[in-house]
Symmetry: C2
Subunit: 113 residues, 2 copies
Amino acid sequence: MRELHHPPRECLELTQVLHALSDPIRLCIVRQLAVSEALACGTFCETAPKSTMSHHFKVLRLAGVIQQRSEGTSCFNTLRRCDLDARFPGLLDAIVRENVATCGDSLWETEEQ
Amino acid sequence: MRELHHPPRECLELTQVLHALSDPIRLCIVRQLAVSEALACGTFCETAPKSTMSHHFKVLRLAGVIQQRSEGTSCFNTLRRCDLDARFPGLLDAIVRENVATCGDSLWETEEQ
DNA sequence: TCCGTTGTTCTAAAAATATCGAACAATGCG
DNA sequence: CGCATTGTTCGATATTTTTAGAACAACGGA
């Protein structure tokens, strides 16, 4: 398969990383990768069609968030945790660790703001 | 001046916050706010015209990143640090603390990835 | 009251993104 | 080889986002 471009660590840009992570599908991908080793694209059972998922993987790769490696007909994805931690310490942890609850839950008292 | 809507803490969404922070101008605003108290919109000497800046402040406010308060003819902005830290621990620190250098600097040895 | 300052809203246009079907490429198996 | 599997690329469309000028609103000072 064709060579896949991965930006070197020192070229990662925070704005691009944040943009890559600001999509629900991509955020979901990153969180799954955070708790497992290399996963093939096909193992992410999103409802989106393949071409859409392929697009999202590409965005993540070009932003430097994931590493993609072909093996057979599969494409295995891993988080570039070392590079991300080196460039943006604490960012990945903060994003992966996030509380699962969203709007509607009352886990946090609504203080005056 | 008109009431400005601020989403309550429990309604903040990570994807929206990340998107708000993924723009260079907005990221710059947030970083300035992180190291100072309330700043009026006009104190951010970006080259962009007022209407563009106003748009960016609105994006930050609606994502729950900043609090805006009118005073006289000025509009003072503050980071919603407490809410952000409560909902997304470590995120703000990671984003504000980021290394200043960008592509081209050799502060990090490029390891194999 | 007249004016300058500060910032928002409206509007339009441009640019960037997202979505997804169809065609294609690479691989491996029988 | 024939074929299914896995994923990419292309092309078109739709949606979102960004930018910015112009008009407007609120406020304060002279």
